[in-house]
Symmetry: C2
C-alpha cells in the first residue's frame, strides 16, 4: 500500500521507516521538496522510500499520516491540499506542544480549537481523520515492547471504517486489537491531547520515553 | 488521628466513611453546620463521626481532606480559615468540572489558574497541599480492587514529608506504596487535573467508574 508521511521529525521517521520495513511504499512530505532530513531518510530507508512536498506526498499516499507538530498540522494539511485528502484516511499523531521560556516543552492551550484532531476534521470535512498514537513516545509506537507489560493506544474519529483501517495498520506495527481502544468520535481527541502534560511530567521523572498507559477496567 | 473532610458529596462520604471504619475521628465540614447530607452521614457512620462548618471541621482535623468541586475548593478553604490550615497537610482531591449545556460534565478551562492544586497552594502558602485521588472514581479510592489488576494513584506536592503522610494514608485505604506514584511538586497537579477529559470519555464508554490508570514504564 502507498503511504504519505507528512513530517520529517522523529515521529515521521519512525513511522515511515517501519512502513518501508513492512514492504509498503512511503513518500515522506515536507515543506520543501529538498528537505535534507527527508532525503537522508529516503537514502537510508532504501526501496519503497521517496520524498517530496506535502502535496507530492499526499497525492501519492492512499493513506496519509500527519506527523508534524500540532501548531503546524493545519498548515501542513493545507499545503498538502484538500483535493489530496478527500475521502482518504488521515491519521493525526500530533500534539500542540510549545517551548517554554527557560527550556522544556508544554502543551499549548487547546480551548480555542478543542483539539488538533477536531480542528483538522472541521477544516477538511471530506478527510477521514483518525487521531491516534499521540499519547506515547515515537519509539513505542512501532515497538510496543519498548514499554513493559500490557498497555494501549487510542483511536478517535467519526468514521468507523477509517478507524478499522487504522486498527489494522496498528496491528502491523505490533499492537494486537485488544490493545487498541476506540474512544469514539473525533471530539474524544481532546481527552487524549490533554494527557500530554501528564506525559511530559512522567517523561521528565523517568528520564526516558519507554512508558505507556494502560486503562484497567472492570467488564 | 483526627481528620477533617470538607465536602458532603460522594467523594467526601466515601473518604470520611472509610476513615471512620479505620478507627479515626472524622469531622465532615460543609457550608452550614446543619447540612442534611452531613448529619445523615454522621448518624450512619456512628462513633468517631461528627459534623460542622468548614471552619469547625478544619479546626478539628490534624489532616484536612478537601473533597468539594474544583470550582468551590478555594471558597471552601477560605471558609475553613487560613489559621486552621497553617502547617497542616491539606489533601486536594478536586477536579474543576462544570455542567455542559444539554447534560454531561466537562473540565473547566484551567489556564488561568494552572490547576486547582496550584491555586490552593498559592492562596494558602503555609498549608502543605498534596494533590491526589482526583484521577479515579470515588468507589476505587478506598477499594482499589474495584478496578482490576494493578493500577496507580498519583501524588503532587511541594512538601516531601506531607506526601509521605498521604502515602501512609493511602496505604490504609489499600494502596501499596509501589502503586502510589510521586510526580513531583504541586505544579504537576496540572497534568493529573488535565486527565479528567479522558477520564470522562472512558466513564461514558464503559458506563461505570470501575477503572483506573496504570503507567507501564521501563526501569
Amino acid at each position: 500500500m502507498r503511504y504519505a508521511v507528512l513530517g520529517t521529525g522523529v515521529v515521521g521517521q519512525a513511522l515511515a521507516g517501519k512502513l518501508v520495513s513492512l514492504g509498503h511504499e512511503v513518500r515522506m512530505g515536507s515543506r520543501s521538496k529538498d528537505n535534507p532530513a527527508a532525503l537522508e531518510w529516503a537514502q537510508k530507508a532504501g526501496p519503497g522510500a521517496s520524498t517530496g512536498t506535502f502535496a507530492d506526498a499526499a497525492g501519492f499516499g492512499e493513506l496519509i499520516i500527519e506527523a508534524v507538530g500540532g501548531h503546524v498540522a493545519l498548515a501542513a494539511l493545507q499545503a498538502a491540499g484538500a483535493e489530496h485528502l478527500d475521502g482518504k484516511v488521515v491519521i493525526d499523531t500530533s500534539n500542540k506542544l510549545e517551548a517554554m521560556e527557560g527550556g522544556g516543552m508544554r502543551l499549548a492551550p487547546l480551548d480555542d480549537i478543542g483539539s488538533v484532531g477536531e480542528q483538522l476534521q472541521r477544516e477538511f470535512p471530506r478527510a477521514r481523520v483518525v487521531k491516534t498514537l499521540n499519547t506515547l513516545n515515537f519509539g513505542v509506537m512501532t515497538d510496543p515492547a519498548a514499554a513493559p507489560g500490557a498497555h494501549q493506544v487510542f483511536l478517535s474519529g467519526d468514521d468507523a471504517a477509517a478507524k478499522e483501517q487504522v486498527r489494522a495498520l496498528l496491528g502491523e506495527f505490533g499492537w494486537p486489537g485488544e490493545r487498541v481502544l476506540d474512544l469514539g468520535g473525533i471530539e474524544t481527541a481532546r481527552g487524549v491531547e490533554l494527557m500530554m502534560p501528564m506525559w511530559l511530567t512522567l517523561y521528565g521523572n523517568f528520564g526516558h520515553g519507554n512508558f505507556n498507559w494502560q486503562v484497567q477496567a472492570m467488564d
